[in-house]
Every structure is written in structure tokens, then in C-alpha cells.
């Protein structure tokens, strides 16, 4: 019994740093697929809809954000997706509620939410952003985006 417990603790200690996002299973934003061309997510406690998407194969949590023109990655998420952030040119200005900041344009090879996938997709990386944003360049391509009965549904 003690051996099993120790083994479990040991596995957790080993496993957590390697997959720091294991706790993401407790976060909102895991889509449920309702057929081949439809998925939906439920809101977080603050009313915002998050969604997990794979950026170059790495699971990343995005805010579904109609207020953002672009798909935006934080520096951290861009780094995790294998983008060499140090080589980016942070020269473009953008406006945010807390003032202006700088961002850099780049491209991700693949952005996928299950079967909903785009390739060679333009994104911007923000110098100091708190959250990655699934903005209008992505959302506009879909057939529809709907919020109804505390559920956000994407159709494509």
C-alpha cells in the first residue's frame, strides 16, 4: 500500500514539470464536439468563453475574443508552440484597455481545435499579454459563432 502511494506521488512529481498543463483539465474551455462541423464550450466563472486549441501541436488556452482583430499569442504560449520569440520584431503598436503595447507578426504552421484546423495562419505575438486570444481573423472564417443558453457554439 505504502509502495503504491509512494509510486503515485513519485509519478506526479516527475510528471507535473513535464506536463505543466495537466491541471488544465480543471479549466473551462474544453470543447465538446457535436458532430463533424460543430463544437461548443461553456463559459468560465467570469462569463468569458475560453477554448483549448493546438498551436503547432501544443495545447494552448485561448479567449474567444470578438474584440481582437487578430489571433494573438502571449510570449509564453508562442514559445511553447516552438516560435523563437527572441527573433521576432516587436515593432507594431496596438491598443489595449491598459494602454498601448508592441506586438510582432508571425505565422503558425497549424492551429487546430479537433477537426477544425487552419494551416500557415498569421498570428501576432504580444510583448506583455496575459492571455492568448482567438480573434476575428479566425472567427470570421467560420460559418457561424453563436452564444445561446450559456453555451458558445462554433460551426464550420
Amino acid at each position: 500500500m505504502r509502495f503504491i502511494l509512494m509510486l503515485a506521488v513519485g509519478l506526479c512529481v516527475l510528471g507535473v514539470p513535464a506536463h505543466a498543463d495537466v491541471f488544465s483539465i480543471f479549466e473551462s474551455g474544453h470543447p465538446s464536439f457535436n458532430g463533424e462541423h460543430e463544437l461548443s464550450v461553456t463559459p468560465d466563472s467570469d462569463g468569458i468563453y475560453y477554448i483549448f486549441a493546438d498551436v503547432n501541436g501544443v495545447s494552448t488556452r485561448f479567449v474567444i475574443d470578438t474584440g481582437s482583430d487578430d489571433v494573438v499569442l502571449t510570449r509564453k504560449d508562442a514559445g511553447r508552440a516552438g516560435i523563437d520569440v527572441s527573433k521576432l520584431d516587436f515593432s507594431e503598436d496596438y491598443d489595449a484597455a491598459s494602454g498601448t503595447g508592441v506586438e510582432a507578426d508571425t505565422t503558425v504552421q497549424k492551429l487546430a481545435i479537433g477537426p477544425l484546423a487552419v494551416t500557415n495562419f498569421p498570428v501576432t505575438v504580444e510583448q506583455e499579454g496575459g492571455a492568448s486570444l482567438l480573434g476575428m481573423t479566425f472567427l470570421r472564417r467560420l460559418k457561424s459563432v453563436e452564444i445561446h443558453d450559456k453555451r458558445l457554439t462554433l460551426r464550420w
Binding site: G47, V63, I64, T66, D95, A96, A97, S98
Partner: protein, 246 residues
């Protein structure tokens, strides 16, 4: 020997450069005193580099105009007086126009909202349609306490966020608010003040006593966030059209 092509007329009033420079300097100094006095009277009016740049710009123009006045060759007192009267008249008309700008601006905004994208059009009973702008983004004209406000439809914002500019227009006293609320933005931590809006309208949709926040720093546009959107029956966009059902 070639004759000069143009024979200069003897000047009627020979320039006295030193005196004229003194007059110009006096005018500039007088302007400086006026600006100083105004900034002493209204200490909050000049804030930030933008305003300083604006002052420098207008002072430069003022200096140019003044130098034209001082250094022009033929100046008769009568003519100058007439010109000054004329300019004062023009200035008075502009001042009156400026005083009337608020009702005028409101009318213009109302006209714009009918003509350009972003107007909330009632397309069926309890249904409003908003067209995307030329970039494919959704903005909508609404009103807060009767003041016309342009909102970005923003599912990424948990609150309704008013820019300080729009908050002032809606009659909120932005100076007396405490900006204690914190939220995450694309640019780090933002600060906002929690307020309750008496009236919020988007087309035929009307809400009263709506919780919102006033942003601590200037923003390009106010945000219609989830506190508004989740009060609706449904929100859907497809092919450049946003439909709100309520």
C-alpha cells in the same frame, strides 16, 4: 551690361528690422504669459505629451502669423484695425459654433449611425442585426444615459467597459471615481472603476442599472462585453452579420 528684369519699387515704409523683431518678441512673450496664466487657472487642462505637442504646434503657427503681421511691408493702422475686427468676428462665430458643438455632435452621431456600419437595425421582433465594418469587426452604436457611444462587441471582455471619454459624455464624474478594479488585458494589468449605468441602449434593446467599469486610461472605443452579451437570449454572427436576440 544686362538690365535688371525687374526694377524694385522704392519701399514706401522702409523696414526697421530691429524694432519689428522687438514687436514680434513682445507678441510671443504676451502669448507665453497668456498660456502660463491659463495653465495656472486650469492646472488639469494640460496633461501628457500630446497636449504639449499641440501647444507647441499652435505656438509655431501663431509665431508665423504674428511675423507676417509684423514684417509685412505695407501696414496701415486702419487696414490692420479692419483686419483685426474681421478676424475677431470670425473667431466669435467659431466660438459660438464651439459652444453649440454638443447638440450638433449628437445630431451628427445620430446621422452617422443611420448611414454607416455599426447601426443596430431591428430586423424582426426582438431581433437586432449589426453589419460588420470594412475590416470585418463588429462595432455598434449604443447610448449610455442618452449619450451616443460606439462600442466594440467584445466577447473577450467580461465587463461593459467605458472609455474615460465616453464615461464623461454619459455624465459620469470620472475624476471622483476610484480605479480599484484590476483586470487582465492584452497589455498587462488594466485598472477600472466600477459604476452602475442608469440606462444602456443598443437599438431597441434597453437595460437599466447595468454594472459596468470605466477604464483608467484612454481607449479607442468602449467595449460591449459579456455582462451585456449574456443578458441576451442569443448572440450569433455569420457572414459579416451579427444578430442579437433579446
Amino acid at each position: 551690361m544686362a538690365q535688371p528684369l525687374l526694377k524694385l519699387q522704392p519701399q514706401q515704409e522702409p523696414p526697421r528690422p530691429r524694432q519689428r523683431w522687438l514687436v514680434l518678441l513682445a507678441i510671443v512673450a504676451a502669448f507665453g504669459v497668456v498660456i502660463w496664466a491659463l495653465s495656472a487657472l486650469f492646472p488639469d487642462a494640460i496633461s501628457g505629451q500630446g497636449d504639449m505637442a499641440g501647444i507647441a504646434y499652435f505656438v509655431a503657427w501663431g509665431a508665423l502669423v504674428a511675423s507676417g503681421l509684423v514684417f509685412s511691408r505695407q501696414v496701415s493702422v486702419g487696414q490692420t484695425a479692419r483686419n483685426i475686427a474681421l478676424w475677431l468676428g470670425i473667431f466669435a462665430i467659431l466660438a459660438i459654433a464651439y459652444m453649440l458643438k454638443d447638440p450638433f455632435q449628437a445630431t451628427v452621431l445620430r446621422m452617422q449611425s443611420q448611414l454607416i456600419s455599426g447601426s443596430a437595425v431591428e430586423t424582426a421582433s426582438h431581433e437586432v442585426t449589426i453589419n460588420a465594418d470594412e475590416n470585418g469587426d463588429f462595432y455598434v452604436w449604443g447610448s449610455v444615459n442618452g449619450a451616443t457611444v460606439r462600442f466594440a462587441v467584445d466577447t473577450g471582455a467580461s465587463d461593459i467597459v467605458l472609455s474615460p471619454f465616453d464615461a464623461k459624455r454619459a455624465g459620469l464624474d470620472t475624476a471622483s471615481l476610484t480605479y480599484g478594479g484590476q483586470y487582465e488585458t492584452a497589455n498587462g494589468i488594466g485598472h477600472g472603476a466600477f459604476v452602475t449605468l442608469d440606462r444602456l441602449n443598443v437599438g431597441p434593446i434597453a437595460f437599466v442599472s447595468v454594472p459596468a467599469s470605466v477604464n483608467g486610461t484612454a481607449m479607442r472605443s468602449s467595449l460591449l462585453g459579456m455582462t451585456f452579451l449574456k443578458r441576451l437570449k442569443s448572440f450569433e454572427f455569420s457572414k459579416g452579420k451579427l444578430v442579437l436576440r433579446y
